[in-house]
Every structure is written in C-alpha cells, then in structure tokens.
Amino acid sequence: MSTTVRGGLVAELEFQRGDLELDATLRVEPGEVLALVGPNGAGKSTILELLAGLTPVDAGSIRLAETLVDDPGSGVFITAEQRRTGVVFQDHLLFDHLSAADNVAFGLRCRGVRRTEARRRASELLTALGLGAYSDRKTSELSGGQAQRVALARALAPGPDLLLLDEPLSALDVETRRDIRRTLVEQLAVFPGPAIVVTHDPTDAMVLADRVAVIEHGRITQVGTVDEVRTHPATPYAASLVGTNLLDGIADGTTVELASGHHLTVADGSHLGPVRLAIRPEAVSLHPDRPSGSQRNVWSTTIEVIEPMGDTTRLTLGEPIHLAVDITAAAADALKLAPGSEVWAAVKATEVSIQPA
C-alpha cells in the first residue's frame, strides 16, 4: 500500500467485439470511486479488461497516473503485467494451491519483493482486514466473505495505480455482503488512486462510490453524483436503477423515526437504533384524496418536480419526506398533476425495506 498519488485515470475507450460496440470516456480522479452500472452485456466487464491491460483498445487512449498506457495511435501498449492495476473479481479467482498469505504475497513477489518481506507485508494486510488468523489457510477452506477479503488484500498488496472491482459483492449472501461492503468502504476511503466499482446494485453504488457512470449498449448514458442521477435520470434504465429512495432514521420496533421527525411503519420490527430504509419509486402510490386502503403509511404532500420518461413519469415529492416516485404517464394525466399539486402519498409497510445503518 505504498502508492503515491500520481494522478487519475483518463480513458477514451473504443472497442468492438461481437455485438458489443464500446465507445466510452471515463475520468476518475485520484482517491475518487466511480461506480459503473449498467445492464448485462452493456460492456462493463469489457471496460475493466481494457483498463487492466488484458486487451488493447481498438482506438482511443488510456492514461493512468500521468502515463500513457494504451494508445494505438502511437503504438503504446503497456501490458497487464506492467500496468499496476489491482483487480478484485466477482468470484475472487484466488489461487487455491496457495495459502491466503501466499495469494496476497503473489503480486509483491512478482514485483521483486523478497520472500520474507512479501510474507510479512501480506500478513500485515490480512491482519488489517481481520484475517490474521487465516494467513496459512488454503483458500479453498475459506468462506465466501473471507475469500473476497483475501482477494481485496491481494489486489491492494502491490500498491496499484488503479483499483478495479468487478461485482465484488454479488456472489455473497446478504449478511456477508454487509460486512464486506463495510470493509470496502474503509479500504476505498484510504486508497489513494482512482477506483472503479462495477455493480448492478444501487445500494452498493450509493454506499461505495462518489459518482456513478451509467453504461448502456456500450455508451455512457449518464455520469453524475448518485443524487444527480437519482433526481434527474437521463434514461429509463438509469431511473429504474438508481431510483431507489434511501432514508435514514431511528428504529424502535416497527416504527422508524426519520431525521425529519416523520414516522414510517415497517413490517420487520427486529431492529433497534439507527437504520437505513429503502423504498422503490414504484412502491409509492398517489391519491387525490386520503386513501382508505390497507397502507400503513399515508401522508399528504406536494409535488415538486415532474419528469416524463416515456411510459412512466418520475415525480419528486416535497415535505415532509423527499421521495422519488414513478407512476404511469396515464395515471399522472388522470391525477392532473403539476408542480405544486397537493396529493396523498401511501406506501405499504411491506414495501419499506430496512437494514441497520
């Protein structure tokens, strides 16, 4: 972890393979984390391959840490071996014939660090990630979460100029995911270089990344902070992806008090203390009068913003709870909604998901 801050990543990627026509520009500053989100086949993994130097770009260029590492125009191509990119793979791809410590030491040994020194640094890193006791274990004996931690340590050990994480959480179960997510947050906070996290989980994007780049059909369709993408999604895909509303509050049984002082009822009453609620935009229903249905959460509010997005319309609700809400364009017409309109909002307790903050 001896990386000195040497500048970020500037990549203009043009690449064609099969049906995929990639044409994307990415900029990531040192210390910044960019989440790369998009549907399957949009080109996320290909981008990582190009950035890692496993495949050269067809056209464009990649500049990393103030060095040109790939530029077909001038014939420059620095291979993966020379490029100093740390990659964490979804299925970790650890070397099962080596111990956890030897996996972490692998990159250091390749960079010419002596065996004992490499071992020592590997154990240090594993200890920092809470795996000190597992240094000598075969990686095939580790749980999914432990293996992913070793994979992170292995990627960080040689002090890479760029850190790439390919769906680092998607192969893990819910509880492990929470632990590893916290570890990633901690490690990304101290990683001095640029980092890119590929994910399809909006929660991961929001928790881990400073900015989000949405990629569809090989093109970047939107780049911005998580809030920008959530409030002004450029495409229906972006809207569906990062539209999830996140609210912080304090839980006491099935009642959660939000920071605004408003209360929401949740179905899962097993939490006590600080929690984070997630509400999908399509889970909220709007009514001209107070609804008489079974919804546990009903409140009156005003419409702040209306954005038509094809068949659906995205609304932003004002006080007391700022929420993004998706309703069909037909429903929006029927309700005769306009900015400033007063409506009743309702959401079922079962539609509010809850996890400890």
Partner: protein, 293 residues
C-alpha cells in the same frame, strides 16, 4: 394421480413380478457384454494357470531378466522425463497460443498414438539411421550411433510416449479458467511466471496422470524399439523384448516376466483410478466445489 391409482389396483398381484422383469437388462446385451469380458479375462487366466509359481522368484532373479529390467527402467524413466520436459511446454503452446499450423502440429504430435509402432520404428531408422543425413552427421561429428543403442531405445520410447503426455496436459490446460491467468497477469506476473506458478500447480493431477501414462507406454514399448534398436541383450533388450525372445527359449521365464508386467500395469491402474473411474464420493465432492465457487 387418481387415474394411475385406478389403473394399478386390478393388476397389483402381477405388478411386482413384471416390474422386476422390466428392470432386467436385455439378454442380448448380457451375452455380448459377457463375451467382451471373457476376451480380456481368458488370456489373463491362461497366463496365471501356466505360471511357474514355484520357480517364479528364481526366474525373475535370472541375470538376463535383471539386465532387461535395468534397461527397461532406465529407458522408460528417461523417456518419461524427456517427454515431460519438452511435452508440457508443447502442450501449453498448443493450448494457449495461436500460430499458423497449430492444428496440423497437434495432429502430427498425436499421430504416434494411433500409428503402428513398427512404422514409427522404421521412420526413426530412416531419420536417424547411420546412412541418413542426421545419423551420418551425429556419427561423424560426435561418434553417436543411435540405432541398436540404449539411447536409441530411449528415443523410440519417447516417440511413442510423448503424445500421451501432450494430449493429457493440453486438455487440462485448455480446460482451465483462463481468468486465473488474467488475475495473475494483473498482479505483475510474466507469462512464464503464470505458467510456473499458476498453470502448473492447477493442472497437477493431470500432469501426474500424463507422466504415469507416458511412462507406462514407454515401459511396455515393443514395436518401435525392436525395429529401431533391435533386441540386443544388455544393450537394447527391454522386458517386453525379453518376453518375445524367451518365448522361443525358456517359456517359463517369458511367463514370469509377463506376470511382472501385469503387476506393473495393475499398479498404474491403481494410481490412475480416480481419473478414470471417479468414485461416487469424489464425483459428489467435485460437484460441490463447483457450486461453492
């Protein structure tokens, strides 16, 4: 469900008998299959029946037999070693690189597996014989004469054994998830380091199997050896050649050597049993590992 139930009730008495009959394998398959088993079993039993059990150890301790055993061990181990040293890199090139004529090269390297060994021996004779350009060069420059020498036996053995190693190892490398190699590359490993520290350890079981197969093929080699190196006791006479020679002389000695080679073959089978007949436990175990990953 109900229909089935209704259908079954009247025929319940007959059902257990007819069900057992339905489970019985077809007679024609039993007959032909048994015939197949007999073709292998009868000669082995014949060999055991004719074995000079009383004088077995004495015959195997005969100087000529020990000499043949020595040459067999030296030449087969040397051939397996050479096949490993050159065959593993060749397998890697075939599996992991693209070059013109790659498919053709693979076919040619595999050829000795199906080629009659005597033809291989003849080919070696034409290539390295004293009157061939290569043979002449070796003789004049270094005084090396390959035909009818122990070195010639090693070359004949390597020729027939190499494909077994290459095919086994190439299959294993091709079946590897290449992303492990990519992961190693991003950690700064050169292709040679990836080969040494990732590919070789990951294919270890197949590598061992390939070496054992190549050695076993070399150990049992007959046709190419006798054609290229002759049958000279103390120089080129291996155990299989000794069996051939003793069939015309001491028949009991031939049988004793044959039994020795049967025992070695059984040893090879035991070594490789997991590879060819995975037991239920390992099959399940392998499946579970896949799921875990």
């Amino acid at each position: 469900m109900n229909d089935e139930h209704a259908d079954r009730r009247p025929t319940r008495r007959a059902s257990s008998r007819s069900r057992r009959a339905a489970n019985r394998p077809p007679a024609v398959l039993i007959v032909l299959g048994s015939l197949g088993a007999l073709i292998v079993l009868v000669p082995l039993v014949g060999l055991l029946g004719r074995a000079p059990w009383g004088s077995l150890l004495e015959r195997l301790g005969d100087d000529a037999v020990l000499e043949a055993l020595r040459i067999s061990l030296i030449t087969s181990v040397a051939a397996a070693a050479i096949a490993t040293v050159v065959g593993v890199p060749l397998a890697w090139l075939l599996a992991r690189t693209q070059f013109p004529g790659r498919r053709l090269l693979r076919a040619v390297v595999t050829l000795p597996m199906v080629l009659p060994p005597v033809v291989g021996g003849a080919a070696l004779l034409f290539a390295f014989g004293r009157r061939s350009p290569v043979g002449e060069f070796l003789d004049e420059q270094f005084g090396i004469v390959l035909p009818f020498s122990t070195t010639g036996v090693i070359i004949a053995n390597t020729f027939v054994a190499l494909p077994f190693l290459v095919v086994t190892v190439e299959g294993a490398i091709a079946a590897l998830d290449g992303r492990h190699e990519s992961a190693a590359a991003t950690l700064g490993a050169s292709r040679l380091t990836v080969f040494r520290r990732v590919v070789l350890p990951m294919i270890r079981p197949s590598l061992v199997a390939g070496i054992v197969l190549a050695w076993a093929r070399a150990f049992g080699e007959f046709g190419a050896t006798i054609t290229f190196a002759g049958n000279l006791p103390g120089r080129t006479q291996t155990l299989p050649l000794a069996v051939f020679a003793e069939l015309d002389g001491e028949r009991d000695t031939a049988i004793a050597i044959s039994l020795l080679m049967v025992a070695v073959s059984i040893g090879v089978l035991v070594t490789l049993r997991e590879r060819w007949w995975p037991t239920g436990a390992t099959r399940e175990g392998a499946g579970r590992t896949e799921v875990d990953r």
